[in-house]
Amino acid sequence: MNHEDKPSTQINVGPQHPALKEPETFRIVVEGEKVVQATPILGHTHRGIEKLAESRDYNKLLYLAERICGICSFAHQANYAKGVEIIADLSVPPRAQYLRVIVAELERLHSHLLWVGVLAHEIGFDTFYLLVWKDRELVMDLLETLTGNRVNYGMNRIGGVRSDLTPEIRQRFKEVLPKLRERLDRIKEVAINDPTMKARCKGVGVISKRLAQETCVTGPTARASSINWDLRRDAPYFAYEDFSFKVPTSDKGDVHSKVVLRIEELYESISIIEQALDTIPEGEIFAKPPSRLSGRAISRLEAPRGENFHYLDFRESKTPYRMRVRAPTYANLASSVRALVGHHIADVPVIVAANDPCFSCTDRTLVINLDTGEQKMLTKKELRNIGIKIYKEGLL
């Protein structure tokens, strides 16, 4: 650090800070109002979910997986169920697949609307925040009628879903979705045209395509930096190949383009739900899983915030030998920290919030060598060598 000629101050944004609703630290070095260095410090909310998972049978694990994240709870649960189904070689009935698509897209709606509100709050635009959340209630009500709860829907079971779509609920959807689209038009207009919104978000926190590739970002963050990648289209799961939808991208990479991109994604989500409601096949909604499992699986899914990754390892038992989760925020964090440098303190919450961070999902592992008490960081090369070794020995 060669900042001795200028007075620089180190401030800790977090773990307790009004801008971050979850405990995470960003150690920021500022010169006046300018950020010259930023380091994230992870691990405040490590909950040991993966260890706990090794002592639960796969049915009970559904509800633990659901609680990895409060907002994308369906994404985690469905992803976990998908993994188990891959291991069990279980074919899920099409009606259940469609229902999963419907809930997943509803979740994307509620998550993105929540995010728009949070961003508005970060820039001090509380009116917009509250009015967006008012409209989000429409989605929450739909979720509640379909699944029985506003969050932690408990919708999945291994091999299918738990609650079915009745004609009355379909009717309810048909009434609410056009209303939602109307409100979305209004939200989009404010988000794009409001002068103060533009002043605070345009050109802020730009993540170039190169930086995005270097830091391996996923989800809307990647798509806003012209990385055209969406698992729903590029590696379809559930019933996504049955629907036609666009994947909006942008080449600007700033916060404002992420707002616009997310809102455009919501139009697609509504259209997917409408298609699913119209073409949903009749039939069973779940298939019975076997009682013992053996095998490994990697299961990926496009959660609202990006790519959700679950690794499962079952060895002739009902409980997994190992479970590993990587939530999208973990992938996106590095990019936002890099994007912070050069901006003002006022931009810090905006840039951090732009990736829709969810830190409780992120804090997964803490590696300490108990014998020596030593904490070691692996270099990229070492990691790569371990990966090659595992691959060669056919461990994966």
């Binding site: 101050t9 401030i11 001090g124 917009f128 009015l131 003002h344 303190i345 931009d347 919450p349």
Partner: protein
């Protein structure tokens, strides 16, 4: 012997009506109105439990905060940290005595009221900066420096906007300014706001008051989501309660000033009532006019996001200040 009753009356006025007690009551009332308006804009309910429609909420907040534990951080400058917050409402009260509330003149008046008021405005900012600095917190320090920047950037347009009524009244005394706005042209009262230069100056004044009061979009010195409360961050308990009180009194001060300068002060029709009742009538007029200003302020801050310090500097110097100067020019030309 006639000295004693006069003096007693003055003390009574100073303490009760329209003095300290009334002003504090106004402060709580305006705060409540501001919060209620904001809540209703946002389709919320706002304060609703303490008293009818939650009207006692600011008072309850004050009592609650004041009864909390007071924490003095190690890094703070102890003497300033402990005493200055308790003194913070005093200069604001002094400023409020100058503002005509129940009669055409303030409790205290002099030919140079406006000078004193403008000086007081800088004093408030100085107090804020000192408070922020004394708490020894980095966020507070950033908040204090932002507070200073705002003072620099909004000082000029504010002074120019305030000078326009003074020019129209050809006096710096608030009493004269109010007097110049009595009377009617047709059915329209002679308020400064109904004059071309007056309305522009009024808008500029409103924007600057938002900045003075640290409300969105100019709440950078306190910006909760950026610097966690800024210069007020370390204060708790009684000290914080007094800081809040001084902020709320400042709200009355800025709003009262706007009413005095542009909306004809407390003056209004007296319906030929005997002059004993005038005080009550005038206070009512003052309240109504003030609430209109509160409404405008809350509407303004409801439609905006918080701006960045650099944007504020740019906006004031390239937009607000030139417009303010041009308005003064306009007034000189068209008279």
């Amino acid at each position: 012997m006639s000295f004693a009753p006069d003096f007693l009356l003055f003390v009574l006025e100073g303490l009760l009506f329209p003095g300290v007690v009334t002003l504090i009551f106004f402060a709580f009332l305006f705060e409540w109105a501001y919060r209620k308006f904001l809540a209703r804009f946002q389709a919320r309910r706002g304060p609703m439990l303490a008293g009818p429609s939650g009207i006692l909420q600011p008072f309850a907040d004050f009592i609650k905060t004041a009864s909390k534990e007071e924490i003095v951080p190690d890094a703070a400058h102890k003497a300033i940290f402990k005493t200055l917050p308790l003194l913070a409402p005093l200069p604001v009260l002094l400023g409020l005595f100058l503002i005509p509330v129940s009669s055409l003149a303030g409790l205290v008046n002099s030919p140079g009221d406006l000078y004193l008021l403008i000086f007081l405005l800088s004093l408030f900012a100085a107090i804020q900066i000192t408070l922020g600095w004394a708490s020894g917190n980095r966020f507070a320090l950033i908040g204090a420096s932002r507070s200073g920047l705002q003072l620099v950037s909004f000082g000029i347009p504010l002074v120019f906007a305030a000078i326009i009524p003074a020019m129209r009244a050809e006096s710096f005394s608030l009493e004269k300014i109010v007097l110049s706005q009595t009377g009617y042209t047709g059915y329209v009262p002679n308020w400064n706001i109904f004059h071309v230069s007056g309305i522009i100056a009024f808008l500029i004044f409103l924007i600057c008051s938002l900045a003075e009061l640290e409300k969105v979009p100019f709440d950078t010195p306190e910006a909760e989501t950026e610097i966690a409360g800024g210069w007020t961050l370390e204060y708790s308990g009684r000290a914080y309660a007094f800081i809040i009180l001084s902020e709320q009194l400042k709200e009355v001060f800025m709003i009262g000033l706007a009413v005095t300068l542009f909306l004809g002060g407390p003056f209004g029709p007296t319906f030929g009532l005997p002059s004993v009742y005038h005080a009550i009538l005038f206070t009512l007029y003052f309240l109504v006019k003030s609430l209109v200003v509160v409404f405008l302020l809350s509407l303004f801050s409801a439609t905006m996001a918080r701006l960045k310090v650099s944007q504020i500097l740019e906006g004031t110097w390239s937009l607000l200040a030139p417009i303010a100067v041009l308005t003064v020019g306009l007034l000189i030309i068209i008279g």
